[in-house]
Amino acid sequence: MDLAGKLSILADAAKYDVSCSSSGSDRASAPGSLGSGSVGGICHSWADDGRCISLLKLLLTNSCIYDCAYCRNRRSNDIPRTSFTPDEVVDLTMQFYRRNYIEGLFLSSGIVRDPDHTMGLMLAVVERLRVRERFNGYIHMKAIPGADPATIRRAGLLVDRMSVNVELPTEASLKLLAPDKSREAIFSPMALIGNAKAEFLEDGKRLRSVPSFVPAGQSTQLVVGATPESDRTVLGLASALYRKFELKRVYYSAYVPINVDSRLPVCAPPERRENRLYQADWLLRFYGFGVDELFEGGDGNLVDSLDPKAVWAIRHPEFFPVEVNGADYGVLLRVPGIGVKSARRIVAARKSGRLGPEDLSRLGVVMKRARSFILCSGRAPVSLLSDGRESRIVRGKAGLGQLLLPL
């Protein structure tokens, strides 16, 4: 098969992995070598489905010895199989990167022969890129459960991010749909990566020039909607993963029906479910919410029609209104329309005087949403919408802090 044919098959096979982020690594450029990282990440294009294209996402091969029910590449599917040679991937990556098509490479693979052999092939790609080609761009690599820990450690020193996909939220679901995988096998490389990263960070404090180990951290992906687990179960697992393995991100991927299989649902879950999970995930990580709080009084699933923060606020009338001139940071964060940035600004700004509704707009509070949940010096804010001023001020909130406030 020619390279174009392989590319079609192996890009197509990789596209269901949702993680695309190229952020978190500030790999510095070096004279005479190609590439650099960008802490904020850069999108290079957007595909027809509207998703950002940042990394060249490829499978090394779509052959696989496993038989996961939800996966197109499973052993029992009759599809054309092909694989790249390591040099083909290296070449495509270099050529694309040079033309600024991409931020780097996302490399995954079906399992050929055994996990360690597979990981070895992937490692060969990464080694050639970093060492032979002196490639300095972003690399995200899948760690294959069951591979030799030494191989995983070697890879960790070369890539920016590693991930092990948990895929299914419970052991029972794994047994049912991915009989060749086990939780144990998935979690042990996660623990290994987490520990190695911590070790290297620790050494980095004492010694100079310790290489960095997966500087952009590790992430994982959970498929939702293929199995009956509730949002509560999914988020409970996510929050445990954040805590235990210090994951940078958990990605939620709404199940896409590809195979006909009696163990699988026929329909995809509503796309909204993915969104609500991301919103809830955000609340867990940055807003001090606990998983249980998000599901009080509910049926274990997030409410479809409202974002989870608004839902919590509505279920807790006793918590409001919140006095913006006195409430603690953590309390401010609970108010719909107040985000992490605006809460911080409120705390800083009120040191030099009492804040009124207009000040709040300027600090980035979305007054339309916050209005009914707050007091300013004991008084409920009056609507400003009538004279059109509010919407203008709110539009300017985004970069105010970075651009003009520090002056």
Binding site: D48, C52, E358, L403
Partner: protein, 267 residues
């Protein structure tokens, strides 16, 4: 009075100097450094080729003067601080209608009342400057991704060439990023709408060239591999979308059609 300049940012700075100089001359008794807001209220600045003469408006051309531009830059840097000055440059690069005059008012206010004033976005010129600099910043960041190099062969050597068209003049804002990242080959990023280009040469760094144009179609200069690599990229682009989720609305919302012209994957 509308002050007109030719050329770029330094011409603009010359007009800023002229505005302050005229105001002092007109009213020498006023204390220096106060009430600029009022004294400059009737002065505007505009680039000459963008100026559309209005009824009753007087205008004059301010000739280029390097020494004055330098003094103005130093003065503004002192008054606004590095970050404030950078924000002003970014706003200038937005090339939005009226931004030159808004900047003059913004400077006047900062000098009169201190930089704390710049955060008051209910003041129209502050908002204009803030909004304009934000726009430039956003567009520059977009182009860090949207630039597409073509590999050309020019008298036996490889040169990477990327044409762009942008609303804001982003070249100065993306120069450093590209010079860091692609430092082992020569390259050109050509702002085709403005006939300006960033030109990078290994060993001598990056230059901003004005009046840059190509007289022959670049396709004729493509290296042997270029077409093939472009074909790979188009194929990858087509295959990576999830068919079940195709959405023109989401696509154009995130990558507006105006940016498609030079994107290999959309042509």
């Amino acid at each position: 009075m509308i002050l007109l300049y030719e050329g770029g940012f330094r011409g603009f700075l010359g007009c800023v100097f002229e505005a302050f100089a005229r105001a002092s001359a007109a009213d020498p008794s006023a204390r220096n450094g106060a009430d600029w807001i009022e004294r400059l209220a009737d002065v505007g600045i505009e680039r000459r080729d963008r100026y559309i003469p209005a009824l009753f408006a007087e205008s004059t051309i301010v000739p280029h003067n390097g020494a004055r531009a330098d003094r103005t830059e130093a003065g503004l840097m002192h008054a606004l601080g590095r970050e404030g000055f950078d924000a002003a440059v970014k706003a200038y690069l937005s090339e939005r209608p009226g931004i030159d005059t808004a900047l003059l008012r913004f400077f006047a206010r900062c000098i009169d009342r201190g930089m704390g004033q710049s955060a008051r976005l209910e003041i129209p010129e502050n908002f204009a400057v803030f909004e304009a600099s934000r726009r430039s910043g956003i567009e520059a960041h977009r182009f860090m991704g949207l630039v597409r190099f073509r590999e050309l062969e020019v008298s036996g050597a490889a040169v990477y060439y990327a044409p762009i068209e942008s609303d804001c003049f982003v070249l100065p804002l993306i120069a450093r990023h590209f010079a860091d990242r692609f430092n082992d080959r020569d390259w050109v990023i050509h702002d085709a709408g403005r006939d300006a280009a960033l030109v990078y040469r290994v060993g001598s760094g990056v230059d901003l060239a004005e009046g840059f144009s190509l007289d022959l179609p670049v396709e004729g200069l493509y290296s042997g591999e270029e077409r093939l690599i472009q074909a790979y990229w188009r194929r990858y682009y087509a295959d990576i979308a999830i068919d079940e989720r195709v959405s023109r609305k989401r696509l154009t919302g995130r990558m507006p059609v105006k940016y498609w012209k030079y994107l290999v994957e959309r042509n």
